[in-house]
Each structure stands twice: as C-alpha cells, then as structure tokens.
Point group: C2
Chain length 319, copies 2
C-alpha cells in the first residue's frame, strides 16, 4: 500500500476524527473514523489520537481541517476572510510544530465580517464539492446540513458569503429539554421522515413573516388539540425548522430560486433538505458525499505541499 501513498488528510471536528490516506493521484486508498473529536480526545491528546488513527500508515505529510484549528484545538489557525477561494484558504495553513510524527499543516476556517459569521471545516467540504462539481463554481449555493447548518454562496470558484442556522442543535435541544419534547421518544432507526415532515415544511412556508418562535409553540398546541400525534412531533418539528431555513433563504433569493443548490453531508439529512428544496420551488439539488476527502487533497495541492513532496524518493518508498 505504501508505494503510491502521498498524503494523509484529517477531517477533525468537535465530536469525530476522520482520517484519509491518498495515493499519488489523490484517490482515497484507506480511511478510518473515530470518536476522538477535539472534545473527547484519548489519553495523550492530539498526538496520541493522530498516531493511533494513522497506525500502520506510512508517515507522509498530513493536512487537517475543522475545529482542530480553533482556539480550543491543537493549534489556533487564524480565520481567512471571505471572499476566499481554495488558494486563499491554503495560504492560511499553519504547521503544527508540536507534532513529532508527521509534517502536519492545519487549514484555516473562514470568517465573514458582517453579518458576523465563522466556519471551520465546512470551507474544506465546499472546496471538495467544487472539485467534484466544477460547473457549480460559477454561481451556486452549497448547503451543509447539520448541528450548525451552513449555506455558502459561491461565485467564480470563491466562497463569497455564508449563513449559519443552528437548526440541528435547536432541534435536539427542543426535543430533549423543552416542553415540546415532553413525552416524545425519537425513533433514530427510522430511515425516512413521515408525512408530518412535509406538514412542517408546509406550515413553515404558510406562516408568512410570523417567525419561528410563534410556530414552535404550535407543536404543543396542535398536540394538545389532538391535531398532531405525539409520535409525529419529531418529524413535524424537523419540517418546521428546516422549512424556516428555506423560507428565509428564499426570501433572500427573492425569486432567484433557480440558483443551483448543492447539498453536502449525511445522506438521510440531505434527503430531508432535498425534499424541502423541492417544496420551496428550488431546482433539484445535487448531493455530494465525501466532500471533506476531496477538499483536503485539493487544499494540500493548492498549498504546494504535494509539489514539495513527491511520493517517490522523498520518503524513500517507491514500488
């Protein structure tokens, strides 16, 4: 395996660490995942996590993106301001001198001054998705659903602006801790949302400019009225919250819903967002998986790290 190996890429977030091993052509030849996010490191910290997840892999250059570059991470890498393309992001990389086992660089996140906003890790996924969907680079919106869902506007291959919606976190908080979740049990095994999800989308859309607060208490009122079954609460709430993202996004787009959407992330969550996109009149979005792996490779290339370190000779390994 080591013969053609060229780079290790690390997608290192708050709650998980994913490692990719690439061949000289940028193909992922091996990948591993562990729960060693920056909030739950093993004994020995970052170095121990890196060593363990790359055990048996040749010691090539490594690059990382995500919360590992935050103030709470291994090395704080200052944000790069938007607008920014892959080259601008790559230029902001910092080398982790404290890493003894690898030549390791961490890429920066992006910052928007007004309205104030930040991302760490998602920029790398957008870069990866752009590589896979180069036609999208002209003018598109990349949506990354999750705990903090990001909507990034891309123009001519540059991320020019972005929004953050705390949809996933608020959904979880409301179900776990608020009156809306009282007596509700979430069936995590359920693969697809039921009709209550579309009902939530519909109600979000029909709500005019009433805002999410007024709608949230509907969930409780509808349940008390017998108009919403308790087992439908999670899907309805999910529809309301995701619908709120799209309602406000389409307000901003003001009829420009022909802008192509590209969804990046977990397949079942992307499917919910695709349903919402259709409901709000957007053209069918493309869905990109494994965007982080492509993005890390692309940024390593843009940073000149691959040119500096050819796979043959430098590490003394060649087939």
């Amino acid at each position: 395996m080591s013969a053609h190996v060229r780079l290790i890429g690390l997608d290192w977030g708050t709650s998980s660490l994913r490692a990719y091993l690439y061949d000289v052509d940028g193909r992922v030849v091996a990948s591993r995942r562990h729960a060693w996010g920056i909030r739950q490191l093993p004994e020995g910290g970052y170095a121990a996590a890196l060593q363990a997840i790359t055990a048996d892999w040749p010691p090539c250059i490594a690059v990382a993106a995500g919360m590992v570059g935050s103030r709470q991470g291994w090395l704080e890498v200052p944000y790069v301001d938007v607008p920014a393309d892959a080259a601008a992001i790559a230029q902001g990389a910092r080398r982790v001198e404290a890493c003894d086992t690898h030549a390791l660089w961490i890429f920066p996140g992006l910052r928007q001054q007004a309205p104030a906003n930040v991302m760490r890790g998602e920029e790398t996924q957008v870069v990866g998705a752009l590589t896979q969907q180069p036609r999208r680079g002209a003018h598109a919106r990349f949506v990354l659903p999750g705990t903090h869902s990001k909507w990034a506007s891309v123009s001519d291959g540059r991320i020019v602006a972005f929004d953050t919606w705390m949809t996933g976190e608020i959904y979880a908080l409301l179900l776990q801790h608020s009156i809306l979740g009282a007596g509700v049990s979430v069936d995590h095994a359920k693969p697809l949302p039921g009709p209550a999800f579309e009902r939530g989308l519909h109600d979000a859309r029909a709500s005019g400019d009433a805002g999410v607060f007024g709608r949230l208490f509907w969930v409780r009122a509808l349940m008390l009225n017998g108009e919403l079954a308790i087992e439908d609460v999670p899907d309805f709430l999910s529809g309301l919250l995701i619908g709120e993202e799209f309602r406000l996004a389409s307000l901003r787009d003001r009829g420009d819903s022909a802008v192509p959407l590209c969804l990046i992330g977990d397949a079942s969550l992307c499917q919910r967002y695709a349903t919402a996109a259709a409901h709000f009149g957007y053209t069918a979005p493309t869905i990109v998986e494994d965007a982080a792996a492509s993005g890390l490779w692309q940024l390593a290339w843009a940073a000149g790290l691959l040119a500096q370190a050819p796979s043959f000779g430098f590490f003394g390994v060649h087939a």
Copy 2:
C-alpha cells in the same frame, strides 16, 4: 381575620403555587407562595398542597387558574375558545369533586384554533389587568413575558387572539445547553441589563427579515471575533430574543404601534420588555403586577360564586 373573609384564590402553575385570601371587598388580606407547582407536589398531592398552603385560613370557597386545570393537573378543564371575555371564561369553570376541604372550582384556559395556540393562567392575569386598567379594554395588547411569553390582543373587553413565543425557555436552553453558552456564567443577581441588551435589540431590529436563526449564531461569531465579551453574552442574547418578539410583533402591527401595550408580570422582566417597546417605537407600556390576584377575584364574581356564597351566614362567621 376570618370575619370579612370571602374567597381563596389559587394561581397554580407548573412550578409554583400562590394562594390569596380575599375580604368581602376583594382585597387581598393574606397571600402565600410555595414551590408546589403541578410538577413538584408534596406527598399527598394536590389535596395536601391545598391544605398546607391554606392552613389557618377559614374554609371559604376556592377558585384556581393555571396548569392545575390541564391534562396533567388536578382536573382537566376544557379550553374555552377565543374570542372570550371574563364571563365566557367563568362559565367554563369546573368543580373539583375530589376536593374534601374546600368548595373548589378551576377556571379553564383559552384556545385559539388557527394558528393553533393555548394558554392556561395567563387569561386570568389579563382579566385582572383589565380590571385594574379598564380603559385598556377597548383595544390593547397585553404582554406577559416569561418562559412562554404571551401576547394577547384585547378588543371591547374580550381576548380575541394571542401569540406564544418560547423566548424564556429558548434563552435558558441556549445558555445552558448550546454552543452559545459555552463558558458563560449568568449573574442572576444583576438587577438591570447592561448595554449589550440594547445592542441585541438593535441587532434584532436591524436584521431585516433574516430570522432569529441566522442571528443566533452571531453571538458565537462576535465572541470569537473579540467583538462581544463573554460576560455580555446573556444580555446580548436576551436582547436578540426579546427584540425578535418585538420585530415580528411590529411587522404584524404594520405601523399600528400606537396600540397601547400593557405588561404583566415580574418587574425586572417587564422592565426589559418596556425597554424593547421603546426601542421598537411603541408608546410607553403600563406595567401591572399582581394581576392574577385581581383576575381570580373577578372570575369568581363572574362565575356567580360570590353571589351564591355571601361571607356572612353561609360559613357561620361574621364579626
């Protein structure tokens, strides 16, 4: 004391129980408060709580409002639909047959069909505030800040419609459980909000139709950027969330911000809402305290319970 005593009123919510003892003129001659809300009853349940909180009080007729009349309460009292005035609410009262110590009636809450909404207890406070502010009855909006903040529109003495904002609950959830509260400690002893509160109001107002989600993550981004001190996070978030209520309320009022606002509730919270009202161009609101006590008396009167049971003779006590 028992000579002129006529009624016991119970404001019985989720987390507290407050009891009032009235004289024949409806003046409160004694009041007690305990943490025996319907979620934390003493051993012996409702009956024990009632007996303990009215210990040494003469056994007169008792009336109650609040979550004690919910499905999880002592006796479920069906909602009355809006529009409703004091007489309509009073007519919905149900007697608690299971109460051995008092002739006890519980008043219903109010229900709005579309958009679906419910309240229990706040209707009694609005009735009480209307008694104290009869001029307001023609056309006014009553605002009851709290865990679930209620905005009730009153016309000709009837509650015609209302909204619920989960402002207080969401504020607490975000500070206690979300990324926004990471590292933040709330100074509950602080009597007045600092300038960060007004900054939150301003940012909510300036946000156009971007919605609360996008603004919520600002809190994090501004903090990371060094533009918001960590100790200012609670006030800023409070300003954003309360500002969101007023931003959307003023959208609905569409320039009709001359509608008189009446605030009901905790003095320091009402002060925050009064500041927000001024910020959003509303005329200075009146603030009503102890509205529940007036409302319970008023509803008992409207239900004919006071006429049926004069203080002299019926209980055999007279000065």
